[in-house]
């Protein structure tokens, strides 16, 4: 018993040492969590309320219910879409990470005014650490200063409040990028507060009048209200932690069915996405693209998302194409289509102006050029941009028939303010003969440095574009151009359903760089047995950046039928034979009987 007690004490001591040691180790390792998709959001709320003019948000804004008075937003607004939901997920992940950080300072239970507290160290001055309050926390009149580089976490079980005119400041390398507030109840910032850092508070964030805040108000699922405030998302260093996914739906109604894109709701990891819309997702991560399928349509994924699986790497731009091809209609008439259906083919190019904003955030105008590179007029044109709206048709529909004819070139325009280096993507979609066609163009604008980003464009034209039953040889001609201003090196071209891609010509000066005056031509031949939608991806590099463009084309092949039912039921045949045999036997027996009878006579 004595030994047992002794062992128990030793074990307890050992555990205590380990736990203390572990605790100390964690204390030293307080780190700034990745904010992922939420990183660019100044406001992320379930309901965002703003009833007065004068609020400026420099950063992205996301909500499900929007404000009565729309503030000035220098960024993108996401309304209850996939990116918005991804930001909410990222907010939750960041909060979990923050909550896992062990407290370095545990205040005495009860409300704490951080500006006047004397228990943690110098009054009003805080060094990097995790400050835990059991109760409410506030920033009083004297304000606080964060001193020194490192991560700061202010955690409370109660509310976070500030008093009018209070200030949160930094010194000696402290950064708002590394400052986090995680109150357990609502946040209320009084008027004229100067505030810093990221406040994660789903219980709601009320921002009083004329507050200047460099940071983020993240209350996904909760309510945020502003009133003539200025909220600016800081530019924080760190490796990219997001990528984009654009799910593009292609529908082929060559057997007379009539479903449209909206009939196939698209999901990424269960979250709804819109066809053609580029959404931001945390990376690296694996995502699964699904849709509400229809048994009358066969489903095919592009090679970028085999079986719907996408391995998203940071900074990558992924286009996942799902093609739904209709099956023959069972209408009892036995009549099938009499002709081969010709699919549409469109091509979109996007050029931003300027390509770079070396002086910092500024206005960028995107010029979009949409052409019909197929053989039939294209109707129901839509242009979906991920971070610029509205995209306005400037000119091109010369005959005013709302159809993109093969002789027409439609130009569109859209202007937006960019805060940070950004890749903007547009998806153009049109219809002809019951078949949809899409093309995707993306362009990067650099903000903050004078480097000029690369731009690349690929066009793919299959010949022929439609085949009779049995299919045949298709030759894809793919042309790469450089709509930017710098020559591209390391140019690559791949096609998810055709290889090898053979270079034909175009590098006129033989420098292996795609100059702005050059058009590089490639071809690829493939025997197609069935209707196929394939995606070509062109990449090129300049100034340390990679430009990417996609070209999507559908070739319709009438499916080989099953074998015909050419048989006639044998019952009719048997009856006929029976009649014939009986008749023959009768004839013979009558003849014999007659002969015998004659003989007897």
């Amino acid at each position: 018993m004595k030994n047992f007690n002794k062992n128990l004490i030793i074990t307890a001591l050992a555990l205590s040492f380990v736990l203390n040691f572990g605790s100390t180790a964690v204390l030293a390792a307080a780190t700034t969590p990745a904010l992922g998709v939420a990183k660019t959001f100044g406001i992320l709320a379930g309901t965002y309320t703003n009833t007065t003019a004068g609020t400026t948000i420099t950063g992205d804004v996301g909500y499900t219910t929007g404000p009565a008075v729309v503030p000035t937003i220098n960024g993108t607004t996401y309304v209850a879409n996939a990116t918005y939901n991804q930001a909410g997920t990222a907010q939750g992940a960041a909060l979990t990470a923050l909550n896992n950080e062990t407290c370095t300072v545990n205040f005495a239970a009860g409300a704490i005014d951080l500006a006047t507290d004397v228990t943690h160290g110098t009054v009003g001055v805080y060094t990097p650490g995790v400050y835990c309050v059991t109760g409410a926390m506030s920033v009083g009149t004297g304000g606080i200063t964060l001193d020194g580089a490192g991560t700061y976490i202010f955690r409370s079980t109660g509310a976070l409040t500030t008093v009018t005119g209070s200030v949160v400041a930094t010194s000696n390398g402290a950064s708002e990028c590394d400052l986090f507030w995680t109150p357990g109840a609502a946040t209320t910032l009084a008027a004229n507060t100067t505030f810093l850092g990221t406040d994660i508070d789903a219980a709601g964030i009320t921002i009083g009048s004329t507050v200047g805040w460099t940071g983020r108000a993240l209350a996904y699922g909760g309510t945020i209200s502003t009133a003539s405030d200025t909220i600016t998302v800081p530019t924080c260093a760190g490796a990219a932690t997001t990528g984009t996914i654009n799910v593009v739906k292609t529908i082929i109604n060559d057997n007379g069915r009539t479903k449209v894109i909206a009939d196939f709701p698209l999901l990424v990891n269960g979250a709804s996405v819109t066809s053609g819309e580029t959404n931001v997702f945390t990376a690296p991560a694996t995502y699964t693209v699904t849709e509400t399928t229809d048994s009358n349509y066969t489903q095919t994924f592009s090679a970028s998302c085999p079986n719907g699986i996408i391995s998203l790497v940071p900074s990558d731009t992924t286009v996942c194409t799902i093609t739904n091809d209709d099956k023959p209609i069972s209408n009892g008439t036995g009549a099938g289509p009499a002709t081969v259906v010709v699919p549409p083919l469109i091509d979109v190019v996007k050029v931003p102006s300027p390509l770079a904003l070396p002086g910092g955030p500024g206005l960028v105008t995107y010029a979009y050029t949409l052409r019909n590179v197929g053989t039939v007029p294209v109707t129901n044109i839509t242009m979906i941009g991920d971070s610029c709206s509205p995209i306005t048709l400037v000119s091109g529909d010369t005959n005013g028939d709302s159809k993109l004819d093969t002789t027409e070139t439609w130009t569109y325009s859209c202007a937006t303010t960019l805060l940070t280096t950004h890749t903007n993507t547009v998806t153009a979609t049109g219809w002809a003969n019951g078949i949809s066609a899409s093309d995707v163009a993306s362009a990067t604008v650099i903000v903050g440095t004078s480097a000029v980003p690369p731009l690349i464009h690929v066009t793919k034209i299959p010949n022929p574009i439609a085949l009779l039953s049995g299919g045949g040889l298709i030759t894809y001609t793919e042309r790469i151009t450089n709509p930017g201003t710098v020559a591209l090196s390391n140019v690559t071209l791949t096609d998810d359903k055709c290889s090898p891609m053979q270079y034909i010509s175009g590098d006129t000066n033989g420098d292996s760089k795609l100059d702005t005056t050059e058009t590089w031509t490639y071809t690829c031949a493939k025997n197609l047995m069935q209707t196929t939608t394939n995606t070509a991806t062109a990449t090129g590099q300049a100034n340390g950046l990679t430009a990417k463009d996609f070209a999507i084309a559908t070739v319709v092949v009438v499916a080989a039928p099953t074998l015909p039912n050419t048989g006639v039921p044998p019952t009719a045949q048997n009856i006929l034979w029976a009649v014939m045999i009986t008749a023959t036997l009768l004839l013979i027996s009558t003849s014999v009987a007659l002969a015998v009878k004659k003989h007897k006579i």
Partner: protein, 196 residues
């Protein structure tokens, strides 16, 4: 005592038998000659071919009108509406064009006692000739390469999909045992022929 068979009786039986045989021969020759069509074939120089209108297979006495048909509601190749016609699959190549032109015909006896155009398709052998006449009167010849039998449910894309840069003609009909439930024969016979 052995029964006597008189010469007269023998003559009578022989005569009747002769008459019956004669009738049978006449009937046979009538059908045989009806089934045989003699055509004057010159290999066409044209490279463009029109919709086929007539199928002639001298070996089995087929001289049939060609209907132009697509697919049925359940995705099968459509079939001719009358016993003596054949159907060309109009979503595939025309006979003479590169690829596999496909023609289907019925097998079996109809309720009116009429036989079907491809009842004797299984008698074709390698080397037999098949002729197709298009709507402009051009006649194209094909030579049987092989006969293949498939299950009724078999998916045979190669019958429609041969893309070797040459012109082929494939004839399809039914064979085997009648399946009451599925209302079809158990097998399909495909004659694969190449352009002469």
């Amino acid at each position: 005592m052995q029964p006597k068979i008189s010469l007269k009786r023998i003559l009578s039986i022989t005569g009747i038998t002769g008459v019956v045989l004669f009738l049978i021969i006449i009937l046979f020759l009538t059908f045989y000659l009806q089934g045989h069509t003699y055509i004057y074939y010159v290999k066409p120089t044209s490279t463009s071919f029109e919709v086929p209108v007539r199928l002639i297979i001298p070996k089995i006495g087929v001289d049939a009108v060609v209907e132009s048909l697509g697919i049925t509601s359940d995705g099968a190749m459509d079939v001719p509406k009358v016993p003596n016609n054949v159907a060309w699959f109009n979503l595939g190549p025309k006979p003479g064009e590169n690829g596999s032109a496909v023609i289907a015909g019925h097998y079996g006896f109809w309720k009116n006692g009429e036989g079907s155009v491809f009842d004797d398709l299984n008698k074709l052998r390698k080397g037999d000739e098949i002729f197709i006449e298009d709507e402009k009167g051009t006649i194209i010849a094909f030579v049987v390469r092989e006969l293949k039998r498939y299950n009724q449910d078999a998916d045979v894309p190669e019958a429609f999909n041969l893309n070797d840069g040459k012109s082929h003609l494939n004839l399809i009909t039914c064979e085997g045992v009648w399946d009451k439930d599925k209302k079809t024969y158990s097998d399909r016979l495909i004659i694969f022929a190449d352009r002469k």
